[in-house]
C-alpha cells in the first residue's frame, strides 16, 4: 500500500503537472491505489452508525478523520463539504460523505453521526473504537492521538488534516487539504467521474 504521504509528494511532481486542463484543487494520488480498509462496527442498536468502506463500492466516498469536540478545522472542513454538497446538486446521489471520529474516549458512533448531520442531513458519521483505530491509523499512514491530558474533558486530538476521496472503484484518488472551498471540492468530485 502506497503511503498517502509518499503519494502526496509524488503527486506534486507528477499528478498536478500531468493535468492538462487545469490544476486539481485536491492533491492527486497518481497512480491511484486501492483504498486501505476502513471499518467502523458501530453499535448493534444503531445500524446506521456502522460503516465499511468496502460496502460503499459504486459511490465516491469522502472520508474525514476528526472528532466532535474539534472547534476549528473539523467544522471548517464539514462546512466546506456542505457547500460542495449543495454545489453538486442533483449529482450528489453517488457521493457519500463520511465523518469518522478518531476520539474513542469521548465520541460514540451516535455522537459522530449527530455531529455530521448538523452540517448536512445526508452526511454520515461514525466513531472508531480503540480496537478499530490502531489498524486504521497504520493502514492509512495517518496519525491521531490525544494532546493534553485525556483524563480531563478538554484535551484536544491531533488528527489528519486532509479529506480523503475514494472513487467508485474503491481507489484512493485525492487528498483535499483543509481550507479548500466547497465549490472547488465539487469541481474535483465532478471531474473524478
Amino acid at each position: 500500500m502506497r503511503s498517502p504521504r509518499l503519494a502526496l509528494f509524488l503527486s506534486i511532481g507528477l499528478g498536478l503537472t500531468a493535468c492538462a486542463e487545469r490544476p486539481w484543487h485536491g492533491i492527486v494520488l497518481d497512480p491511484a491505489t486501492p483504498a486501505p480498509p476502513l471499518t467502523a462496527a458501530g453499535v448493534a442498536a444503531e445500524p446506521a452508525s456502522r460503516f465499511t468502506l468496502a460496502s460503499a463500492r459504486g459511490s465516491t466516498v469522502l472520508v474525514y478523520f476528526g472528532y466532535t469536540h474539534c472547534p476549528d478545522v473539523c467544522p471548517t472542513t464539514l462546512a466546506d463539504w456542505a457547500r460542495a454538497r449543495r454545489a453538486l446538486g442533483a449529482d450528489t446521489l453517488s457521493v457519500r460523505w463520511v465523518f469518522v471520529s478518531v476520539d474513542p474516549t469521548r465520541d460514540t458512533p451516535a455522537d459522530a453521526a449527530a455531529y455530521a448531520r448538523q452540517f448536512h442531513p445526508s452526511f454520515e458519521g461514525t466513531a472508531l473504537t480503540d480496537a478499530e483505530l490502531a489498524p486504521v491509523l497504520r493502514d492509512w499512514s495517518i496519525a491521531a492521538y490525544p494532546e493534553g491530558d485525556p483524563r480531563t474533558p478538554d484535551y484536544t486530538v491531533a488528527h489528519p488534516a486532509h479529506s480523503f476521496v475514494v472513487d467508485a472503484e474503491g481507489r484512493l484518488r485525492l487528498m483535499i487539504p483543509p481550507g479548500v472551498r466547497g465549490d472547488s471540492i465539487a469541481e474535483d468530485l465532478r471531474r473524478l467521474r
Partner: protein, 162 residues
C-alpha cells in the same frame, strides 16, 4: 460577569459596545486603555470587527473568530478570555505539521500598535468549551478578552453557519 471597563469594541454587527468613557481617564486605578479623542494621544485603542461564532449544542465546543485592530500607539496583549457562555474559554491556535492538525493554547496574543490581528478559521480562534447553552444561528455570544494592560475588551459574536 464580563468586566468591561473602558474599551472600544466595534463589532460589525453593531452589537458590541461602542467606545466607553468618552475618552476621559479616571484618576487612580482607572483603566489605561483609552478611546479615541485628543485625550488618547498615547493610548491603546482596540477595535473588534467581524466577530462571529460557530453554532454548537449545549455542552459542546464552539469557536469564535474576529479581527482585532489596534489603532493606537501602544501595543497590548491578549492574555486570557472570560465568559459566562461556556465553562472554559481560551485562545487557541490550529497548526498543521506533516499532514496532521494540532491545536495548542495561546497564552499571549500580542496586538502591536497600528496592527490588525485576525482570528480566523484554521488559525487562531477563541475556543469556547462546554457551552452553557446552545448557540443557534443569529444568537449572540459575549466574552471578554483580558488584556495585559489590565482591561477587558468586550466582544459580542453573532452565531452563524461558517
Amino acid at each position: 460577569m464580563i468586566r468591561s471597563r473602558k474599551i472600544c469594541a466595534v463589532c460589525a454587527s453593531a452589537i458590541a459596545l461602542a467606545c466607553g468613557g468618552g475618552g476621559d481617564h479616571p484618576s487612580g486605578d482607572g483603566p489605561r486603555v483609552a478611546v479615541t479623542g485628543a485625550a488618547a494621544a498615547s493610548s491603546v485603542t482596540l477595535a473588534v470587527m467581524d466577530a462571529w461564532a460557530r453554532p454548537a449544542d449545549s455542552g459542546a465546543t464552539s469557536a469564535a473568530y474576529l479581527l482585532l485592530a489596534n489603532r493606537g500607539t501602544t501595543a497590548d496583549t491578549v492574555v486570557g478570555v472570560v465568559t459566562e457562555a461556556a465553562e472554559s474559554a481560551t485562545v487557541h491556535q490550529t497548526t498543521q505539521h506533516e499532514g496532521t492538525m494540532h491545536m495548542s493554547a495561546v497564552s499571549t496574543l500580542p496586538i502591536p500598535a497600528g496592527a490588525e490581528v485576525s482570528l480566523a478559521p484554521l488559525g487562531t480562534h477563541v475556543m469556547l468549551l462546554r457551552l452553557r447553552r446552545p448557540l443557534r444561528g443569529g444568537d449572540t455570544v459575549t466574552f471578554g478578552l483580558l488584556l495585559a494592560s489590565g482591561d477587558t475588551l468586550r466582544v459580542a459574536a453573532v452565531t452563524r453557519a461558517p
